[in-house]
């Protein structure tokens, strides 16, 4: 048993940390202020990352998170692969800036979705694309099965109609992975995901949200009106398998939830590090006295550190399970639930601990406290994760435990 980060990822972690510290941090406040302005600095960085990733088996970014890599590997024994390396990269980059990571070309959650469910031909065809992810609708948040966007088969195409909101990088990405139903009467089993390229007639961005945080990342509303998409852009299997039901598209979440948990861990670490730096002359942070015998502020930081460490290890566990082909739906939700709430608590508490310094815009602590909130909401809210975990534990269906 070993819970240390293996040495083979040290280079990747270091690289990602350098990017976070020297590329993201200096422009962090700039794009927090200039909402909807495209961080053009990211183009150069994305090109650089593509180059680095092409030359390295341990890629940084969402695209390397996949069960596929593990499935192809034939060697025996424990594996530390794409899911872990992607996660470690995301943690470091989000120590820099969550919004900028989400705005990074070709690192979108849509890319993770493609990596998770696409067939080999599609993987090939969509490699290098920048894909956003469109699930939520005006009347459908966490209840993904109630999706109203329709996809009607018409010859070699599917015709999409509906409204999508909260699409991260929805305006900037090359394409959008859209969830739509083939037949509302068949319920969740008929929900499939489609890659829709920007510029496809019938697809239009109708609005950009103004938000509490992650302002560097644009959040679009997209409307589809008789939008014709090639049938070959349906990701995975086009058959409606009532037995397997929702599982196909939901598999995406087993891979993306640990990544979002990783984002939460990154931003929480940023807050913890900065707060300790601000308080370094006040406390020793030597873990020497019983918790009840130290100053309340120091004890609070120890407690937050323990919670953070727990969230980090639970997230590594979920990604490690994906790398080792262990079913990880429950663990992915556990990681997301724990990391989401811990990051929110940590970042808010660090503002409080740093006082007026923490609240003011001279420091980034207040920004991190705003950024962290979304991480307990998107890719499934805290409450959705609890539902998933509880249903698994109690053996309940979604109609029993609602």
């Amino acid at each position: 048993m070993n819970l240390e980060t293996p040495k083979k990822f040290a280079g990747l972690k270091h690289q990602a940390h350098q990017v976070a510290a020297n590329y993201f941090r200096p422009i962090s406040r700039k794009y927090d202020k200039a909402e909807h302005a495209y961080p053009k600095e990211l183009d150069l960085l994305a090109a650089l990352l593509d180059g680095m990733n092409a030359g390295s088996p341990d890629a940084i970014g969402a695209t390397s998170a996949s069960k596929r890599g593990a499935a192809k590997s034939l060697e025996e024994g424990v594996k530390n692969g794409g899911n872990l390396s992607a996660l470690l990269g995301v943690m470091e980059l989000c120590w820099g800036d969550v919004g900028l990571l989400l705005a990074m070309p070709r690192q979108g959650l849509g890319n993770a979705a493609i990596a998770a469910v696409a067939n080999d031909e599609q993987l090939q065809r969509f490699s290098g694309t920048w894909a956003a992810m469109a699930i939520t609708e005006p009347g459908t948040g966490s209840d993904s099965a109630a999706i109203r966007t329709t996809a009607r088969k018409d010859g070699d195409h599917y015709v999409l109609n509906g409204e999508k909101i909260f699409v991260t990088s929805g305006e900037r990405a090359d394409s959008v992975v859209v969830w739509a139903t083939l037949d509302k009467a068949l319920g969740r089993a008929a929900i499939k995901s489609f890659v829709v390229e920007h510029g496809t007639p019938g697809m239009s961005v109708t609005r950009l949200e103004k938000k509490l945080g992650i302002k560097a990342s644009d959040t679009a509303s997209i409307s589809f009106s008789d939008c014709r998409v090639p049938a070959a852009n349906l990701l995975g299997n086009p058959e409606v398998d009532v037995q397997k039901g929702f599982a196909g598209v939901m598999e995406t979440f087993d891979n993306t939830r640990p990544l979002v948990a990783g984002m939460a861990i990154g931003v929480a670490k940023a807050s913890l590090d900065r707060t300790r730096e601000l308080l370094k002359d006040t406390f020793r942070f030597d873990y020497a006295k019983p918790l009840l015998a130290v100053n309340h502020a120091e004890a609070t930081l120890y407690r937050l550190e323990a919670e953070w460490e727990a969230a980090r290890l639970l997230t590594l566990k979920a990604a490690w399970m994906a790398d080792n082909k262990q079913p990880n739906s429950k663990e992915a939700s556990i990681a997301k639930a724990k990391a989401g709430r811990v990051a929110n608590e940590v970042t808010l508490k660090c503002v409080e601990l740093a006082g007026a310094l923490g609240y003011g815009e001279d420091e980034l602590l207040e920004k991190w406290a705003r950024d962290s909130k979304i991480l307990d909401i998107f890719e499934g809210t805290q409450q959705i994760q609890l539902l998933i975990v509880a249903r698994r534990l109690l053996g309940k269906s979604s109609s029993e435990l609602k």
Partner: protein
């Protein structure tokens, strides 16, 4: 090849063969399998050592090691065996042991048959402890505590003492004390006494003093909540010596040493005791004096034992409330159909796994020879808080029933309160 190792495994096997209780409880097979692999692992160790010319090279952390949560085959079998023992033997005995504030004699014999202490004694001194034992010890504690926390704590006292002497005793001290733990007769009960009766007690600021007088120390002070302090033949006592906190092996019958029952809120079966020391004379060579003696590390190994127990009992609580909430019907459906109930169950599972990850990491670092004080501190902190939350939520989920002794939840509630309080007592 070390023939002693083989002999040792055979001796345990023989002891198991003579006992009839493993058959009654259907535990024979898992035991035999375990002993087989245990001896195989020891064979391998012995062979490795022989190859290296009998030299014990210092353990080095392996920087290339992958992140790995899989248990080894041996660990898995150990866990399986102890899990059966916990559910078949400990759980049914727990209620009465709590009420009688004692471990039943039969249970003590069965635990002796299990040969737990062999995992705390090096091969050289007749045991089967390998190079890396901390994680395995934690897994053992977790598996046993799923049956009952206070029985598990009580039964782990001899193994803890062996771990303590193996880790913190000099070569001579190991030679003197350890063989008894793997002998024909019962392993000696040596209770580890650290806690003192003070609010906000800090184990680094011991009020118990050890004054050097020639070839002896004189110990004075008061120790409390000493697990199995009453039936112990010896006590391993933490006291402030001239050059820092130290551990002393003290005969329980020493002049000036007084033992009194000290029942607490829980840990009843562990028969906690108050120990008063007035100028108790202890030979200087009974001060544990391994070259690398590290009192903080001793405390950390103890804290991790309590974390592991908390995880086992937390797991028991999770499984119990899961069943209960599915069976209990209110307003026409199982109460588990309500989010207010279901989310509490989900939170128990989440925090339990959080406790497990922090504890495992600290243990894995410890056995790899990496610094682990920070990790143990954070694990203890988290486990103390979350274990109590699990304990109180388990009672809450059972409602009024949880408050009665018809269900084990109230016992777990009392036992889990100890996790934040106990210093020493056990040793992984």
């Amino acid at each position: 090849m070390n023939a002693d190792v083989q002999g040792r495994a055979l001796a345990i096997l023989n002891r198991m063969a003579q006992a009839d209780w493993p058959d009654r409880l259907n535990l024979r097979k898992p035991f035999e399998k375990l002993i087989y692999t245990g001896s195989r692992a020891s064979f391998r160790l012995a062979a490795d050592r022989a190859q290296k010319g009998g030299l014990r090279t210092p353990r080095k952390p392996d920087p290339d090691a992958l992140f790995d949560l899989f248990l080894s085959d041996e660990q898995q079998m150990l866990v399986d065996m102890l899990a059966s023992f916990a559910s078949e033997v400990l759980r049914p005995a727990a209620h009465d042991a709590d009420a009688n504030a004692a471990i039943p004699a039969e249970l003590l014999n069965q635990a002796q048959d299990l040969g737990l202490t062999f995992y705390g004694v090096n091969e050289v001194h007749g045991g089967m402890a390998g190079e890396r034992t901390t994680v395995s010890n934690a897994l053992m504690a977790e598996a046993l505590a799923k049956g009952d926390m206070s029985l598990a704590a009580g039964l782990l006292v001899p193994l803890s003492a062996a771990n303590c002497i193996r880790r913190w005793g000099s070569a001579e001290q190991q030679q003197r004390w350890l063989p008894a733990f793997v002998g024909e007769s019962s392993a000696p009960v040596m209770a580890i006494a650290v806690n003192e009766p003070d609010a906000l007690f800090d184990p680094l600021k011991l009020a118990t003093k050890a004054k050097r007088r020639g070839k002896h120390y004189h110990l004075s002070g008061e120790k409390c909540l000493v697990l199995r302090g009453l039936d112990a033949s010896h006590l391993i006592i933490a006291a402030q010596a001239e050059n820092g906190p130290a551990l002393f092996i003290v005969e329980a019958g020493s002049k000036g040493l007084q033992r009194l029952p000290e029942p607490g809120m829980g840990l009843k079966a562990g028969a906690t005791a108050r120990v008063k020391l007035k100028g108790v004379k202890v030979a200087a060579d009974q001060r544990l004096n391994a070259e690398h003696f590290n009192y903080q590390s001793f405390l950390d190994h103890a804290a991790l034992a309590w974390c592991a127990l908390a995880i086992g009992t937390g797991q028991a609580a999770l499984e119990y409330v899961t069943t209960y909430c599915n069976e209990r019907v209110a307003f026409g459906e199982p109460i588990s159909h309500r989010q207010g109930v279901a989310f509490m169950v989900a939170d128990i599972a989440i925090e339990l796994d959080a406790m497990r990850m922090l504890t495992w990491r600290a243990c894995a670092r410890a056995e790899q020879g990496l610094p682990f004080h920070r990790e143990a501190y954070l694990a203890r902190l988290l486990c103390a808080e979350k274990a109590m939350k699990i304990g109180t939520d388990a009672v809450q989920l059972l409602g009024g029933h949880g408050f009665t002794k018809e269900h084990p939840a109230e016992r777990w509630y009392r036992d889990l309160r100890a996790v934040a309080i106990m210093a020493g007592g056990l040793q992984l």
